[in-house]
């Protein structure tokens, strides 16, 4: 694989990975703001 192609793939994986982490974090914060205390305890083994 050419170095240029390799670097492009690395950048693509990093961008997609970072976006997924950010999206999941935002989703979690929104859920946390709205979760009931009962649901929180039920989920919290």
């Amino acid at each position: 694989m050419k170095e240029k192609t390799f670097h492009r793939i690395l950048i693509a994986v990093t961008v997609i990975g970072s976006l997924s982490v950010i999206a999941l974090t935002v989703y979690t914060i929104l859920l946390y703001k709205d979760v009931s205390v009962i649901a929180f305890v039920a989920n919290g083994g």
Partner: protein, 320 residues
């Protein structure tokens, strides 16, 4: 050889992000997903299901001997008690005194829903005339005092203040000393209380909420620590029994006995459950609106107490 190394690096990078996502999901996201229907919330209620003067409303409907007239008092209150005071309005208020549109009460409506925190503020500010709530917090009393207002509290019913844990937690009973020890930080592991070797995730509530005000009184002099270990530990939280009663039996959570007494309607009614508390009709001391007295007298009558009991609470006044 070079290609193989490049592929391994790409796979490791992708695996790193996948591991981070899975870690966030299993530690944080999974804890926040509501497994119950939307009604089961600690701090809100589906208002549309409990509106007065609505034939499909799920409030308790009784034929009242009292019909308020003239300038009726603006009533407000806690989320958990919304079905109760909505039933009072349905029984005693003129139907044209309540306005509800697009999910909110109109500003001139004689019924409002601001929940405990804002209801007490509205009472102190003069935006509400009577609120149906747990006792106010010290901050709420101070806020009112700064406005030159003193609250008059009339007990109208009884409710259990309960501690809940995950249904898989082997602990079923704690003493009040142990509960205070959890929230003061004395006990940090369930093992110290005879349970599993897991951290205790002690969840606290919003300052000024009804639950938090009762908890502060329960703790007496000991300060309540901020939330700790709530994502890593097995959780405990406190609330009113009303919120929990619909999900007991579905699994997920269970209520703890306190000093060996389980919080059911019987133990709350007879006072044997140690964390039974009263809830109140609260108005501004010195407010001489005759409708307030008429309404409170009616709430304490058999008809008003019947609403309280059939709404899932315990009556204050024994049935005559």
């Amino acid at each position: 050889m070079k290609l193989r190394r490049q592929i391994i690096i790409i796979i490791l990078l992708a695996a790193f992000f996948a591991a981070v996502d899975l870690g966030i999901y299993f530690i944080f996201t999974r804890r926040c997903i509501n497994p119950y229907n939307s009604q089961i919330k600690s701090d809100s209620i589906e208002v549309e299901k409990y509106l007065p003067f609505d034939e499909n409303s799920e409030i308790i409907k009784v034929r009242a001997d009292l019909t308020l007239d003239g300038d009726v008092p603006v009533i407000d209150g806690a989320a958990a008690l919304f079905p109760v005071y909505s039933a009072f309005v349905n029984a005693c208020y003129p139907s044209d005194s309540v306005g509800f549109e697009n999910g909110e009460f109109s500003p001139d409506s004689a019924m409002q829903y601001r929940n405990t925190l804002r209801a007490y503020k509205a009472l102190a500010d003069g935006d509400a005339d009577i609120v149906i709530c747990a006792a106010p917090s010290e901050e709420q009393v101070k806020y009112a005092a700064n406005k030159g207002v003193e609250f008059e509290l009339v007990p109208i019913g009884r409710e259990g203040f309960v501690f809940i844990v995950n249904a898989d937690n082997p602990i079923d009973d704690l003493t009040d000393e142990q509960l205070r020890g959890i929230y003061s930080g004395k006990y940090r592991s369930w093992k110290q209380l005879g349970g599993k070797n897991k951290p205790i995730g002690a969840v606290r509530r919003i300052n000024g909420s009804g639950s938090q005000s009762v908890m502060e009184k329960f703790m007496v002099e000991e300060p309540i620590l901020p939330d700790y270990d709530v994502f890593m530990g097995s959780c405990i939280a406190y609330t009113f029994r009303y919120y929990v009663q619909d999900v007991i039996g579905e699994g997920g959570v269970k209520m703890l006995s306190v000093n060996g007494v389980y919080p059911d309607t019987q133990s709350i009614s007879d006072g044997s459950y140690p964390l039974t508390c009263q809830f109140y009709a609260v108005y501004r001391k010195g407010d001489d609106d005759p409708n307030i007295k008429r309404l409170i007298d009616w709430i304490l009558s058999d008809q008003g107490q019947e609403i309280i009991e059939k709404s899932g609470y315990s009556r204050l006044v024994p049935e005559s």
